[in-house]
């Protein structure tokens, strides 16, 4: 998903137009930008601020407040691993350890091949069948280290 700067501009203008007249449009705009171009750059922040009549600092303050919004381009897929209590009760630390080792990065990092960005999650709503992992929008339950290895292999082969 390598969009050129020109595509970004066109996308952003379209997104801004689509959200004109909406109540409280900032979060929906940020979501739309991230969904379309993968992240929210300083140039996006400046353009959004201008369109909404806010300062850059205000928009940047919002982007940086929320864990989900990213300012750097992610890998091709985002792997979320749940670290919360119900998954801990099913020993998710072993799954986390496997992910770090296989991808060679810690939370927030992207594997050297650019395929996976690893992120921590604090409950994915699958607490009766943990440990839980989500790759992009696909959810997986009872993810032991072995099952995680198989899941990552499956995504690599897509």
């Amino acid at each position: 998903m390598v969009a050129t700067e020109l595509d970004n501009d066109a996308n952003l203008e379209r997104i801004l137009a689509e959200h004109a007249g909406m109540e409280g449009p900032l979060l929906p705009i940020l979501h739309a930008v991230q969904d379309t171009v993968g992240h929210i750059s300083p140039a996006h922040v400046a353009r959004i601020a201008k369109a909404l009549n806010l300062s850059r600092a205000e928009v940047h303050g919002v982007v940086s407040f929320y864990h989900y919004f990213r300012q750097q381009e992610p890998g091709r897929h985002v792997v979320h691993i749940c670290r919360a209590e119900a998954c801990q009760a099913m020993h998710c630390e072993q799954t986390e350890q496997h992910a770090r080792r296989e991808l060679g990065v810690d939370y927030g990092g992207t594997s050297a091949d650019g395929l996976f960005t690893l992120e921590a999650a604090y409950c994915l709503g699958n607490c009766a069948a943990g440990p839980t992992v989500m790759v992009d929008e696909k959810l997986y339950g009872r993810v032991t280290p072995e099952r995680l290895a198989a899941i990552l292999a499956d995504w690599r082969s897509r």
Binding site: E23, G24, P25, L26, L27, P28, L30, H31, L52, G61, V62, F65, Y66, H67, Y68, F69, H80, A84, E85, A86, C87, Q88, A89, M90, H91, A121, Y122, C123, L124, G125, N126, C127, A128, A129, G130, T132, M134, E137, K138, L139, Y140, G141, R142
Partner: protein, 513 residues
């Protein structure tokens, strides 16, 4: 006529392979030349049996099989699945299974039964009957009904829903809002998600009734972004309701307008706190507001606003349909009605159990939950999310009741129960509670922002065995400061899991490592 088969579209079922099972069923049916209609429903709540499938037999009964993975499908079909034939995975009618039969399903009555986004299915199962009755009542009468039902907020604070609604009703303003708190950030909880995926029209109906009651014409569902599946179900259901005239400028020809929109959160636990949620909806950093004013008086964009949890709102249709007394007759003490309880963590039979208040933890953990998944003894449970206390075995006979839990320094909260076996290290769980608070603090007040980071450091020193007693005393003082000096429950209640761990499991803090 095509054979009817039901399989869940719930995220937890998908996480265990429901989509793959559904695809395998289509392939097997085609190979066999059997014409099937596959309906994707919500989950019956028996997560340990997902992927669960139900096949309609010759007499129209739904016969369940589970757990059925894609690999099981060919053998199952060969054994006569399409004739509801015997098999080791055959469970019979879900309604006859003790785990299910012993529940009181009011709010979740349709979840797992109907096609979640079909208005016809919804209406055929009693949907919109509450709304119909509400059309014939005044705003004050609707509020009176909710008040009399005894319904208290299911999001955690257990505040009477009717009193909140009455305050909004009394405000004079051309624009009022109904906001649904679907942030469900508490770990170990998933009832909001299951309801939104399994019966989203019920939530929509609850919000419509709330709008009628107080004269609000716009609603927002603030949904956490970790729940993409719920987002899809909600948007499909909203569209279906709009097409059929249940949403829009003239709801059901009543001359009253109600518009509804889903807004996505962005991964901040504090957005579950109602005033932070309103800030976020307005497009700001989600910092907790000082109060007064209450959201009921000055809420979203400064206007009077009802803000309620998903389950609170989804419990309203049945209250209007059956009357306040019907709902109030379930429960104990001042905890009226039912609670959708989530059995999570290390349990053999995890999932969603809806019971009247008064059921004990022990019944939930052993009779429903079947004990630990690992086969080891259960040692601790955390009830009510990351800010809830840890309870030892000696407190398992406590009934689920807001007051009974308060009396032991614990929290019912949103009804999540996370079970741990005897491999759990409670000092590490206490450290995690502080760590979570540090990660999710909105930063507005010092005891929470700084205190939580200090808390992690102090527990680290205890784990390393450095001046244990002095550090334990310091931890207790720190908890005291956080509890009394924080603006909201994140900083104010993080001491609950920490202090309960120290109190009930002192050995985990004392032993050498």
């Amino acid at each position: 006529m095509a054979l009817r088969i039901y399989i869940s579209r719930d995220a937890a079922a998908q996480a265990l392979g429901a989509d793959e099972t559904a695809a395998a069923l289509q392939v097997a049916a085609a190979a066999k030349g059997t014409s099937i209609t596959l309906t994707r429903v919500g989950s019956r709540g028996m997560v340990w049996l997902e992927p669960l499938i139900e096949v309609e037999d010759a007499s129209g009964q739904r016969i369940a099989y589970g757990p059925v993975t894609a690999d099981d499908v060919p053998g199952l079909v060969q054994a006569g699945l399409f004739d509801a034939a015997p098999h080791r995975l055959r469970l019979g009618r879900v309604e006859d299974m003790p785990w299910f039969a012993q529940q009181e399903r009011l709010t979740f009555a349709r979840v797992g039964v109907i096609d979640p986004v079909s208005v016809d299915d919804y209406v055929a199962h009693g949907g919109f009957a509450g709304l119909k009755r509400a059309f014939g009542l005044s705003g004050a009468e609707i509020v009176g009904e909710v008040l009399e039902s005894g319904l208290r907020g299911r999001g955690g604070a257990a505040f009477p829903t009717g009193i909140k609604w009455r305050t909004v009703l009394e405000q004079h303003s051309p624009q009022k809002y109904v906001v649904c708190n679907a942030d469900e950030g508490d770990s170990g909880t998933f009832s909001d998600r299951m309801l939104m995926e399994g019966d989203p029209l019920c939530l929509i109906e609850g919000m419509l009734i709330a709008g009628l009651a107080v004269g609000a014409t716009r609603g927002y569902i603030y949904l956490r972004c970790e729940y993409p599946h719920a987002g899809h179900a909600l948007r499909e259901a909203i569209e279906a309701a709009r097409v059929r005239g249940y949403l829009g400028p003239d709801v059901c020809g009543s001359g009253k307008a109600f518009e509804l929109e889903v807004r996505m959160g962005a991964g901040a636990y504090i957005c579950g706190e109602e005033t932070a949620l309103l800030e976020s909806l307005e497009g700001k950093r989600a910092e907790v507001r000082y109060r007064p004013p209450l959201p009921a008086i000055k809420g979203l964009f400064g206007e009077p606003t009802i803000i309620n949890n998903v389950i609170s709102l989804a419990s309203v249709p049945i209250i209007l349909e059956r009357g306040a007394a019907y709902y109030r007759d379930f429960g104990m003490g001042r905890s009226r009605g039912t609670l959708p309880i989530q059995l999570a963590g290390n349990l053999k039979r995890g999932g969603l159990v809806e019971k009247a208040f008064g059921v004990t933890l022990r019944e939930l953990l052993y009779d429903f939950g079947g004990g630990s998944a690992s086969g080891r003894p259960l040692r601790a449970v955390q009830v009510g999310g990351p800010l809830g206390a840890y309870l030892p075995e000696s407190q398992f006979d406590t009934p689920l009741d807001y007051e009974a839990f308060t009396a032991i320094g614990a929290l019912v909260g949103h009804g999540g129960i996370v079970a741990f076996d005897d491999t759990v290290d409670m000092a590490r769980m206490a450290r995690y509670a502080m760590e979570f608070c540090a990660i999710e603090s909105c930063g507005k007040c010092t005891p929470c922002r700084i205190g939580s980071t200090r808390g992690v450091e102090v527990i680290n020193r205890i784990l390393l065995g450095n001046e244990k007693q002095a550090n334990l005393t310091q931890l207790e003082n720190l908890c005291e400061t956080m509890q009394h000096g924080s603006l909201c429950g994140l900083g104010g209640m993080t001491p609950f899991p920490v202090m309960s761990a120290i109190k009930h499991f002192p050995g985990d803090f004392a032993r050498d490592r």
